[in-house]
């Protein structure tokens, strides 16, 4: 199992649940890495979803053993791609053609779920109607509040902005509009006084 229980935090921080089957004629499932486990469990709860399900799976690794398992649950469509960005044109096109009643299920890392949710909410689905389940890495997609650059897969606090080089403190303050957490300069008042980087949730 690849689950992790996030400690309670400020209200801005997204809270994830457990995917459950919902009524509807079309089901869009988006997952990365261990997020596949959540989709397999969802299919186990209601196999009848799968003939109406389109899965977009970001495998990250061609040797990924989950791909075969996802194929075995027999979704209507299974797309496997190397990165989230590679899947975006397909996702946008699907949302453009979709009708009300489409159910969206997101599973995997926070960065994947946040970005896919932004696409779904931009297409008009209320964010509270989109199901999420966290699996796998606790790394975050961070926005530097100073230069606005995004750094993916941040796993330590503080971290160095990959754009402007500032040392940033990892906050739980989240932006649904940007699909990223906010990183704030940690040594603004005493430049150079940077606390040692600690792995998130260690």
């Amino acid at each position: 199992m690849s689950t992790f229980e996030f400690p309670p935090s400020i209200i801005s921080r997204p809270v994830y649940g457990t995917l459950a089957p919902r009524r509807g004629k079309h089901h869009l499932m988006i997952a990365d890495a261990e997020g596949a486990e959540a989709l397999l469990e969802l299919a186990g709860k209601d196999a009848a979803l799968m003939p109406r399900a389109h899965i977009i799976y970001v495998s990250g690794d061609v040797e990924n053993p989950f791909v075969e398992k996802l194929r075995n649950i027999a979704p209507l469509h299974l797309y496997v791609g190397p990165s989230y960005n590679a899947a975006v044109p397909r996702l946008r096109r699907m949302l453009q053609d979709a009708h009300m009643g489409l159910q969206v299920y997101l599973a995997g890392t926070e960065g994947l779920m946040g970005q896919a949710m932004l696409e779904a909410t931009s297409a008009g689905i209320p964010h509270t109607a989109i199901q999420t389940e966290h699996r796998g890495s606790v790394a975050r997609r961070m926005q530097c509040v100073h230069c606005k650059g995004i750094t993916e897969n941040v796993i330590t606090d503080p971290f160095t902005c990959s754009h402007c080089g500032l040392h940033l403190f990892v906050r739980d303050h989240y932006s649904r509009r940007i699909a990223a957490y906010q990183g704030v300069c940690v040594d603004a008042e005493d430049p150079g006084n940077v606390p040692p980087a600690v792995r998130l949730y260690s």
């Binding site: 009524r23 509807g24 004629k25 009300m100 009643g101 008009g124």
Partner: protein, 321 residues
Amino acid sequence: MSAGTTKIAVTVTDIVPLNDLVTRFRFERTDGGLLPTFSGGAHTVVEMKDGGKTRLNPYSLMSDPSDQTAYTISVRRDDAGRGGSLFMHRNVTVGDEMVISYPVNLFALDLRAHKHLMIAGGIGITPFMAQIKQLVATDGRFELHYACRNQALGTYADDLTAAHTTKVHVYFDDDKQAIDLENLLDGQPLGTHLYVCGPKGMINWVRKTAEDLGWPDEAVHYEEFLAPQSGKPFKVRLAKSNLEFEVGEHQSLLEAIEAAGVDAPYLCRGGACGQCETDVIEADGEILHRDHWLEDDEKRSGRKIMPCVSRLEGRIIVLDR
């Protein structure tokens, strides 16, 4: 004074009978000033001095929300009702001074929607009249499906069809025309919000069909004003005010509380808004819950009541008021 119930003194400046059942009333401020703007879907509570009795009925505002010179409402005569609509039809004349509340909106458009799909039944057309004017002014995308008994009773059906030929679809029950709801809902683009106003049966049908098709609750909006129903008289004791009095057969619990001189909170007076929710300390009898505000378990608990529409069948109820 209760929240959101600031009053406006108005004069009736026009009364237009539209068909056998529906009459339109126009209100302008008695002091000649401008009325507040409102948003489509808002209602006003009209005070009626009917002999010694004050009736307070909510009506959807149907005029252009940006027009501050006047408000209009359309009132359907309900011969079997408690008398508010009959009073409007029979006793109100042009030049009368009346008191109405500031507009309150419990049926607002969700402006994040990419498209607004409206379903109206009968007099449920009125909030959509204002919403459509708002959407036309803001280039909003909408589609209206309006079911009414027949051409003669299709209030505003001709006006709407003439103004918005491709967006308004009218169905006459007498001609066995019906909304093909499942197909209609099934084909809506993502980002559509659904609005329904009409009889209870229609609201339930639309909500259920949308739910079965996987529409999220957040995108389904409905408005149904419940009129308080008559019932057997019962006693009420207000613990905080230390008052005890009787609720009459044709009086609502809220009206009885007001008649006793207690300024209790309310907004919609129709079981929808939640403003008048009151804690029950004790009840000797069965509470007849008629609102659609309280959750089922709250209703079962017997600890809460919505006095605008619900009442007691029994001897006495003690309220934390």
